[in-house]
């Protein structure tokens, strides 16, 4: 039996009927066609599916869409404002923080929240903050530099 849900995703309100078992990530991808959020595992380990749910970075592969009823969701597609990249997005581009790009949306959303909480993190704090996100390409060094770049850039604004 389907259940009606209402979510605000990237500033747009959506009402849909979904199966209770539908995962939030599948709702975002298959129903709303927001395919920037990726699926890299089914055990909440890789972080490719990370989105902001009411301001908290969560792994949308382990949240049911019905649990997000009434919530505000920000996905990678909603980070840039008025065509201007989020400082973390800019950092990833400047510092070559991505190669295949598959982990990147989740990594950027996680890093954005990390900087919300701690605008001037140490290298160690950045690494700790990214513990829940796997990257197989970059070896993380450029990702760490991307977050450092973003912290500096956001601090200047």
């Amino acid at each position: 039996m389907k259940k009606a849900i209402n979510l605000n995703v990237n500033g747009v309100s959506h009402t849909d009927e979904v199966e209770p078992r539908m995962l939030l990530v599948h709702y975002l991808r298959d129903v709303l066609d927001l395919t920037g959020t990726h699926v890299g595992c089914e055990t909440s380990l890789c972080g490719a599916c990370t989105v902001m749910l009411d301001g908290q970075a969560v792994k949308s592969c382990t949240v049911f869409a019905v649990q997000a009823d009434g919530a505000t969701v920000t996905t990678i597609e909603g980070l840039a404002k008025n065509g201007e990249l989020h400082p973390v997005q800019e950092g990833f581009w400047e510092k070559h923080g991505l190669q295949c790009g598959y982990c990147t949306p989740g990594m950027i959303v996680t890093a954005a929240q990390l900087l919300d909480r701690n605008p001037d993190p140490s290298r160690e704090e950045i690494c700790h903050g990214l513990e829940g996100n796997l990257c197989r390409c970059t070896g993380y060094q450029h990702i760490i530099e991307a977050v450092q770049y973003a912290a500096k850039k956001a601090g200047q604004r």
């Binding site: 199966e19 078992r21 539908m22 599948h26 991808r29 298959d30 066609d33 927001l34 395919t35 920037g36 959020t37 990726h38 699926v39 890299g40 595992c41 089914e42 055990t43 380990l45 890789c46 490719a48 996905t75 990678i76 597609e77 980070l79 840039a80 990249l85 997005q89 990833f92 581009w93 400047e94 070559h96 991505l98 190669q99 295949c100 790009g101 598959y102 982990c103 990147t104 949306p105 950027i108 290298r123 160690e124 950045i126 690494c127 700790h128 990214l130 513990e131 996100n133 796997l134 990257c135 197989r136 390409c137 970059t138 070896g139 993380y140 060094q141 450029h142 990702i143 760490i144």
Partner: protein, 800 residues
């Protein structure tokens, strides 16, 4: 002067779509009325299938079709193996198991349903009656006898091979000393962050099939899948959209790719299968999987005389595309960076009830480097000399290249000592050794590991490759002056859209933003080989470079005609063809497109304004070539060139990695203090991308050295079946890398590039393991097998 892009840290042109979540991987492509496929996979490692009951699945809501191995056995051909070795046993590898299952994850039934949830429901409703059979998991046991896995074979030995040159017995007879060590290379899971995925759409009217697949080799896959499902190759189009990493795991042709194509043809609808991570660890190829003994013969002064490596190689249950070839690559690289007059490798390759092994980043070469570098450390320990000095003593000098090895190769160019010197200088090696001694006296456990690796890249001459080792490029300049590059080397994260655009922009003297690099679509791009074996830039980039030279020959001819000058007096610089006197004045910058967007007159192409000009941009010439009103006699219209580059040799990048670790006595925890990598990949197109490749490669080595291991139990059950159990390095596991380079151009290609995609994975494991072993030397440790975990270390410290 013209802005040059090659050699600069140019930001990637691919990134804007990727960082905004707007790129398209296979699962991001939706077609109307797409059906979803899920697989029933074996949970036994070896069993007979007595019966399969699919009735409940077929009756489930949303399920559209169900296919078993019997349904497809005479419809879809076997999964191909391209390895060609004498007396190689090749099992009949069907896309779905028919009578028996041979490994955990072996696909048994395909369920097709209206959505992915319904397909998974269908999977749960299939009842397979299995009868368990004896399981073979240990590769040495497989060689020794016991139950035979495949009917029709007399044993589990896929092949035996002995390779190498020089008199190995004489080398050991003449040696002052020898060392011997058993070395394990555990199975690794490549774990590309994007699992595999296939979307297939058959157009019944046109009789055309399009397959979107997350693959490294769209053209080779097209050829093989066309043969497997019996569709004419020119009616099959393979598209690789964004590919989320491969590391060799997508350098293959898999059951699912052919089966999805065939199912779409049966049902006349699009069908999609997206691999789960669990399936990915079960049924995407594994890497490594060797256990062997290395023996080295040497003199008292440290001169190497001979090296023998006798290895059991674990093929798994079936051959995938290159499975049997991988251990032979190990054999090729057993000379490492050293003069070793006699080398012998003895391979015993065996079937086991496990997933197939195949190419994982480095593909046989990390094994070789690890064996040779560990052996050199043992030689140094045996002689009581510094490991760096044993290496230095046995290097070929820079003037000894091309250097012939006893494995039958000719190394193209190198200066191994320069890289070692540079790395030692950066790390201040002498001071570091002193510091280590002092720390040891204080009871601290600090270790230093040195790896002076060489790798074989730019695969490769076609003679050495099963399906050709060349690469292709087409370069054309469109009427509006925009440059289109079509490359057969389809990337999956390496950044060829940027690096190939850098090459094209420099050679044509245009702005990089005017260049678009297209790849990964067999309907658009000329036949190509693909991206693997650190070959894309050295072979594919060279194809781009040479295609441009061909294009420029034609452009020059047209320019000469249009400028009404003598051919010898027209020169090309900064994107412009000029009559000689005008060169200095005109070469002020990159040329701009003839037709700025939005300013073209409606309905017609503009006439090039050439009257009375002393110079023309190459983009002016492109327009003239398309209008074809002012061409020299006997000149084809259009401005386009295609080149298939066949390299004459491999390239041999090299370098020195030095790793410094400290071990916590109480916990066995291993902490990186320094990691210095000096790599020589020849000429560098984009240092930013090279750094990224090196970082990523080293971290995969850290994973192999300290965390990763695919574990099967005695029943062949996969114990590390999810990312909960299979440990991939995280941000907090990696050191801050200190990178540098030496630059020894390769003479094999005009760009002088060697390749860098696998350097880190090949060079780093011996440095890391060497450092850990060195830290534990006070406990008498001479060798440890990977992955070295804190628990192993703690036990050594606690119990000796």
């Amino acid at each position: 002067m013209t802005e040059k892009y090659v050699g600069k840290r140019v930001k990637r042109t691919e990134d804007p779509r990727l960082i905004r979540g707007l790129a398209h991987y296979v699962d991001d492509i939706s077609l109307p009325n797409t059906l979803h496929v899920a697989f029933v996979r074996s949970y036994y490692a070896h069993a007979k299938i007595n019966s399969i009951d699919t009735s409940a699945a077929l009756a489930a809501p949303g399920v559209v079709a169900v296919y078993t191995g019997k349904d497809v056995a005479d419809k879809v051909g076997p999964v191909p193996c391209a390895g060609a070795l004498p007396d190689l046993k090749v099992p009949d590898h069907r896309v779905l198991a028919k009578d028996k299952v041979y490994f955990v994850g072996h696909p048994v039934v395909a369920i097709v349903a209206k959505n992915r949830y319904a397909a998974q429901d269908g999977v749960d409703l299939v009842v397979v009656d299995y009868e368990e059979l004896p399981v073979v998991t240990d590769v040495e046991a497989a060689a020794a006898g016991g139950p035979v896995i495949h009917d029709g074979f007399s044993d589990n030995i896929a092949y035996r091979l002995t390779s190498g040159e020089g008199d190995i017995d004489a080398a050991f007879a003449a040696a002052d000393r020898t060392v011997k060590q058993r070395v394990l290379h555990r199975r690794l899971a490549p774990i590309a962050m994007e699992p595999r995925g296939v979307l297939a759409r058959y157009f019944p009217g046109e009789e055309e099939l399009t397959i979107w697949s997350s693959t490294q080799i769209p053209h080779l896959m097209r050829t093989q899948v066309a043969l497997m499902i019996g569709i004419p190759e020119n009616k099959l189009r393979v598209i690789t959209p964004e590919v989320g990493g491969g590391f060799g795991s997508k350098l293959n042709v898999y059951s699912e790719e052919a089966l999805l194509g065939w199912i779409s043809m049966q049902l006349g609808k699009p069908v999609k299968w997206i691999e789960t991570r669990r399936e990915n660890i079960q049924a995407t190829i594994h890497g490594r999987g060797q256990v062997g003994d290395v023996e080295v013969a040497f003199k008292n002064d440290g001169t190497l005389l001979g090296l023998r490596y006798s290895v059991f190689a674990d093929m798994g249950a079936y051959h995938q595309l290159l499975t049997p070839a991988i251990p032979t690559l190990t054999g090729l690289m057993l000379s490492g960076a050293y003069k070793i007059p006699a080398i012998q490798m003895n391979i015993t390759a065996c079937f086991t009830n496990k997933m197939a092994t195949d190419a994982y980043r480095g593909a046989g070469r990390p094994e070789a480097t690890y064996i040779v570098e560990r052996a050199l450390d043992l030689v140094a320990a045996d002689l009581g000399v510094d490991p760096a000095e044993v290496r230095r003593k046995n290097f070929p000098a820079a003037d000894e290249f091309p250097f012939h090895t006893a494995t039958g190769l000719d190394y193209d160019s190198g200066d191994y000592e320069a890289a070692l010197n540079k790395a030692q200088h950066i790390v201040d090696y002498a001071a570091l050794r002193k510091e280590q001694k002092k720390a040891r006296d204080e009871g601290r456990l600090i270790g230093i590991g040195v790896s002076t690796y060489v790798e074989i890249c730019a695969l490769g001459p076609s003679q050495a490759m099963p399906a050709g080792g060349w690469e292709s490029a087409t370069v054309r300049i469109e009427p509006t002056g925009k440059v289109t590059v079509l490359t057969g080397a389809s990337p999956h994260g390496q950044g060829q859209e940027t690096s190939f655009a850098q090459i094209a922009a420099d050679e044509l003297g245009v702005n990089i933003n005017d260049v678009t690099v297209i790849h990964g679509d067999t309907g658009v791009v000329q036949y190509g080989i693909g991206t693997f074996g650190s070959r894309a830039t050295a072979v594919g980039g060279t194809a781009v470079y040479v295609a441009i030279q061909k294009l420029k020959e034609k452009a020059h001819k047209i320019a000469t005609h249009m400028l009404q000058a003598d051919a010898s007096r027209v020169s090309f610089e900064g994107g412009k063809y000029s009559r000689e006197a005008a060169v200095a004045a005109s070469a002020t910058g990159t040329s701009e497109p003839v037709v700025p967007v939005g300013e073209a007159p409606a309905g017609a192409l503009p006439e090039p304004q050439t009257e009375g000009k002393s110079s023309l941009t190459i983009q002016d010439i492109a327009l003239a070539a398309h209008l074809a009103k002012e061409l020299p006699p006997d000149t084809e219209p259009g401005l386009s060139a295609t080149y298939f580059f066949e390299p004459k040799n491999f390239t041999f990048p090299f370098g020195t990695h030095i790793c410094v670790v400290e071990i916590d006595r109480d916990t066995g925890d291993i902490k990186f203090l320094r990691y210095v990598a000096v790599d020589d990949c020849g000429k560098v197109i984009n240092p930013l991308l090279v750094d990224g490749q090196v970082h990523g490669g080293i971290v995969q080595s850290i994973g192999q050295a300290m965390y990763e291991e695919v574990v099967y139990d005695e029943q062949g059950q996969l114990i590390t079946g999810t990312l909960m159990d299979y440990a991939v390095p995280r941000a907090s596991h990696v050191p801050n890398f200190e990178l540098d380079r030496t630059e020894t151009p390769s003479p094999v290609n005009p760009l002088g590039v060697k390749g860098v995609g696998e350097a880190g994975t090949i060079g780093a494991t011996p440095a890391i393991v060497g450092a850990i072993v060195d830290a534990l030397a006070p406990f008498g440790v001479k060798h440890l097998d990977m992955p070295i975990k804190p628990e192993n270390v703690w036990r050594i410290i606690s119990h000796g």
